[in-house]
Symmetry: C2
Subunit: 229 residues, 2 copies
């Protein structure tokens, strides 16, 4: 029985949860969120649409599994032997780049309570905070603040990014955005108008990392922590 199953899984045309998720990711990357269809997926897997439901509960679960896989891969590639601060920046950049490359995975946020992908990030961040000497009762708040920021900003960046063609004029996009902000009502939006010019030479990744650093600085400043380093 176990032997039969193992043999079936070795056949390259056999369905499996993993193979379905894999195909879903390819479809999502190639055609965007609207490209993921049970019919399209079935065709790609050379099977019937209903067959997929034997391995996967529904579309929501499939999307969640795909998003988790993306985050999981990103976390697997994170260097973890540098200083805690540097490792945290690495984790953050891992999420940022993963969502940038797979913008559809940002929906991960709105899926059920505490998806596995986010739990992985939370775990890794938490460990670094411990290494950093953040007191125990502040660890959860600190970790969850970082995680919320990381996913929030990464998702925002990804959906902005996917609206203009990848290689092409990112600068043009920022220029249009800056012009729009400059055209806002002066009485209602003085702040946005004042910073609009800055939008034109704007480095997403650097800006994102600066935000991480602000939070890290806040952690170092607010509670007392053991003077190590």
């Amino acid at each position: 029985m176990a032997k039969a199953k193992a043999a079936a899984e070795r056949r390259e045309d056999a369905l499996s949860h993993d193979r379905i998720v894999e195909a879903a990711i390819e479809l999502l990357d190639a055609e965007g969120e609207t490209g993921l269809t049970f019919r399209a997926l079935a065709e790609r897997l050379a099977t019937g649409a209903g067959a997929i439901y034997w391995h996967v509960a529904n579309k929501g679960e499939l999307l969640a599994a795909a998003s988790d896989a993306i985050i999981g891969r990103a976390m697997a590639g994170v260097a973890t032997h540098a200083s805690p601060q540097k490792t945290i920046r690495g984790i953050a950049l891992g999420v940022f780049d993963a969502l940038d490359a797979h913008p559809w995975a940002g929906a991960l946020l709105s899926r059920g309570p505490w998806q596995t992908g986010m739990l992985q990030v939370l775990e890794r961040i938490g460990r670094q905070l411990q290494a950093l000497g953040v007191p125990e009762r502040a660890q959860f708040t600190a970790a969850s603040t970082l995680v919320s920021y990381i996913f929030g900003e990464s998702d925002q960046n990804a959906t902005n990014g996917s609206s203009h063609s990848r290689t092409a004029s990112r600068d043009e996009f920022l220029g249009v955005l800056a012009a729009r902000w400059e055209a806002l009502d002066a009485r209602e939006f003085p702040f946005l108008r004042s910073i609009a010019p800055r939008l034109r030479h704007h480095d997403d990744r650097a800006e994102f990392l600066a935000g991480v650093d602000i939070i890290l600085a806040g952690l170092a400043a607010s509670p007392r922590k053991p003077r190590s380093h």
Copy 2:
């Protein structure tokens, strides 16, 4: 002509962008995201499904307008005469409570680049940062860090909250979550296991505000301008 239009708008059965958005919000609040249908909307407005398309481009625009309206109302109710820090907390809580009451509005994040709702929040936060004396070249980074955190955490909280019935056992939900974390693999998730007990007496709003304070502390601690490159 203008007179005829004004008269038509005064008729209570006349369609208009605002009335459509209003009905959409009611539908979304009552039945959740899946409740918003052009057919259901048409029935509620006592008209044909296609009529709505005269006033609204498509479902995406409608959802975006509804989300923006929710944020707009929340911002209108924010007290603005306290200290900058207190005002920022007020703005943050406004978003938090708005998304908690209307969880479907969290999708706002994933909609097009810089929705009006988020721009309003960014503007208000930015002004307070100016009042706080944050140097000009650090203002955008600071404001956008706060906004990303605020929407990220609020959305996360809202989708978690809507999974358990409102009035009923929130504690039960947290208990189940804590138990699940405690059951995680010890080698793979030591951090999550260690903080799981803390989940049981967890105050979402207090935790959320603590995150805001961490960021504010970080801004106060590193008044030096972030390197650009």
